[in-house]
């Protein structure tokens, strides 16, 4: 059933568009280009001695997936209201299927990253494999948040307004277009761990440190623990209210 929902969303996503699946290639390239112009050319941001393109792509790739899964699953239940009222099926499939649909983009992004990396001299090619565990942890964090938000937004529709806004802010608070060293340097040492409550901070930093041998903070583990905690608690909470969804929605 997870797969059926995912195939449905995948097929429908680019229905009646001119570029079709080309969009999944065009979008990441365009955003990398914009980030490159703004952060690198206009502001001259340091990327820890790594080429800016692979540097920003390595972060963006994971972030985009995180962003997609949360924003899609947050509205997954509300969009399927009619079905929920009329058919019995495991409703948890609705938000979770978004994590599968979303996989197309990071895989395309991964290829773009490989192309960028080929221009670099000192790439740790073996470290590229770390992308997959990093993606797994990202999917747990985003599914966890997705489960929470989809379940909560049945009662509190305000979440539908809040989520895009929060995600936009979070984009700038996550070291994607800049390095985590830069962020850590302006935060007092004893508050540095707070940055890692954002799961994406630690995940991206660890991916980069494996890939480019850049320094990594001692607090990375916090991000991983947060990701697991979000996933487990999201599942729990969703299961708790699953029975009542049809009555409330």
């Amino acid at each position: 059933m997870l797969l059926s929902f995912a195939t449905r969303d995948y097929k429908v996503r680019y229905a009646q568009t001119f570029l079709g699946y080309g969009w999944s290639l065009f979008q990441p390239i365009a955003s990398v280009a914009v980030l490159f112009l703004v952060f690198k050319k206009m502001m001259g941001i340091e990327s820890e001695g790594v080429g800016y393109l692979p540097f920003v792509m390595s972060g963006l790739l994971l972030w985009n997936y995180f962003n997609f899964v949360i924003s899609q699953s947050a509205s997954a239940l509300l969009n399927a209201q009619n079905m929920i009222r009329k058919i019995y099926f495991p409703k948890i499939c609705l938000p979770l299927s978004k994590a599968i649909v979303g996989l197309v983009a990071p895989l395309v992004g991964f290829l773009i990253l490989v192309i960028f990396l080929a221009q670099e001299s000192n790439t740790n090619w073996l470290g590229l494999l770390y992308f997959f565990p990093a993606l797994l942890v990202t999917s747990m964090a985003s599914m966890g948040l997705g489960l929470w938000t989809s379940a909560l937004s049945i009662r509190f529709r305000d979440l539908q307004q809040i989520i895009p806004f929060v995600l936009q802010i979070l984009f700038f608070l996550t070291p994607i277009a800049y390095s985590s060293q830069l962020a850590n340097s302006i935060v007092p040492k004893n508050l540095e761990f707070l940055l890692y409550l954002n799961p994406m901070t630690g995940i991206i930093e660890s991916f980069r440190s494996v890939l480019f041998a850049t320094p990594a903070s001692d607090f990375i583990w916090i991000s991983f623990v947060v990701s697991f905690a979000l996933f487990i608690s999201g599942l729990r909470y969703f299961q708790k209210i699953e029975m009542k969804i049809a009555d409330i929605i």
Partner: protein
């Protein structure tokens, strides 16, 4: 001896309306046993709790008190075509819908040919369903559901859609599956003749309470009698079982014989006349008034409509309160009992709708003026006819 497919014990369901302040019981203490392989009908007026009961059986919602035990796999068809995606083709939707309804991919593949044939949309199988006509859509959706291999099938009003021929086919398919495969069906219906023909037993529910269970003929007769009694009890303007915006309401509807002035008892083949009193609550003038008086026979089958829209007689800028008349030169209803479902539209909006606004009886008469009276009481319609050799 017989094994129970469904046993419902002390089942109650409470809904809270408007943020938990007001609560009401949609179902109160229902006890019901359904044997495996039987077709159980659920009847009752709108809002009686039939659909809620079906939803609980289908695990869509949960009971507040009591429990429902179901033996076997369940498929519920509360609305045809839910879960269809307009952008996907018919074929893709069969897979999607089938898997939502609990079929495995290989099961769907096995049934594919039969589903397509049953639905009759063969040619358009790879067209997105948004381009389908509503009839095709419904046929495809029902075909998927009809091929589900479940022990228990829950159906709500789905047969109200689709053309008559297809409805018949569905009914045949449904009854054949129950006989052959020992499948249990729970079936909500408003159409008494369908319910009577299809169901082995019927449960009559009203205001969340089980009124009567048993032989389908006995229960439908009892139900119709109660309905009959109810609409006679109260004058139309005091009735609460109505829907619409309520801007303009029916005050009274009379259907009478203009020769004798006898109300609600008419003679087939003779003249008849409607008198409709309406009144507005807050308007001084009524911009555009459209009336529909739909005739149903006692089995709940729709027969005919009387409407000023049908004959293009617009009622514009009427006074807030008044009376309109409609005369029928020659009543072509056969002897029997009928009722009128009355709807009133103001400026295109549903203002007042009353199901079973009035009941009336048609007595035998010489419709064709041939000297032979048609005495059978089968509530249908006489049509003009000319026979030749």
């Amino acid at each position: 001896m017989t094994n129970k497919a469904i046993s419902i014990e002390g089942l109650s369901k409470e809904y809270s309306i408007s943020k938990g302040k007001d609560k009401f019981w949609a179902l109160k203490d229902i006890d019901l046993q359904i044997n495996a392989g039987k077709v159980m009908g659920l009847i009752g007026p709108n809002g009686a709790g039939k659909s809620t009961l079906l939803k609980i059986l289908g695990k869509i919602t949960y009971p507040t008190k009591g429990r429902a035990l179901l033996n076997g796999s369940i498929a519920s068809l509360l609305e045809v075509g839910t879960g269809f995606h307009p952008e996907l083709s018919g074929r893709e939707n069969i897979f999607l819908n089938g898997s939502i309804l609990g079929m495995s991919k290989s099961d769907i593949k096995k049934e594919m040919e039969e589903i397509v044939e049953f639905s009759g949309v063969g040619k358009f199988l790879d067209t997105p369903v948004k381009h389908y006509s509503s009839g095709m859509y419904v046929r495809l959706a029902f075909s998927v559901a009809a091929h589900l291999r479940s022990d228990i099938l829950l159906i709500d009003e789905v047969l109200a859609v689709g053309d008559a021929q297809f409805q018949k086919k569905c009914l045949a398919k449904m009854s054949s599956t129950t006989r052959d495969e020992n499948r249990t069906v729970v079936f909500v219906s408003h159409n008494m003749s369908i319910a009577r023909n299809l169901c082995d037993e019927i449960a009559y529910i009203e205001q969340g309470e089980l009124q009567m269970v048993g032989d389908s003929k006995k229960v439908t007769d009892h139900y119709l009698k109660t309905l009959h009694g109810k609409s006679l009890d109260q004058p139309l303007k005091d009735r609460k079982d109505r829907s619409g915006t309520g801007e303009v309401l029916f005050e009274e509807i009379d259907f009478f014989d203009p020769k004798t002035n006898r109300s609600k008892t008419l003679i087939c083949g003779e003249a008849a006349e409607f008198r409709v009193d309406y009144a507005s609550r807050n308007r001084e003038q009524i911009g555009d008034l459209v009336l529909h008086l739909n005739v149903f026979n006692d089995d709940g089958n729709y027969l005919a409509s009387f409407s000023n829209q049908l004959v293009n007689v617009p009622y514009k800028n009427l006074e807030a309160q008044g009376t309109v008349h409609c005369s029928i030169p020659k009543l072509s209803l056969m002897p029997g009992n009928y009722y009128i479902k009355a709807s009133l539209f103001v400026n295109g909006q549903r203002s007042d709708i009353v199901d079973r606004a009035i009941n009336f009886e048609v007595l035998e008469g010489d419709y064709f003026g041939s000297g032979s009276f048609y005495k059978k009481r089968v509530p249908g319609i006489f049509l003009e006819q000319h026979w030749r050799i």
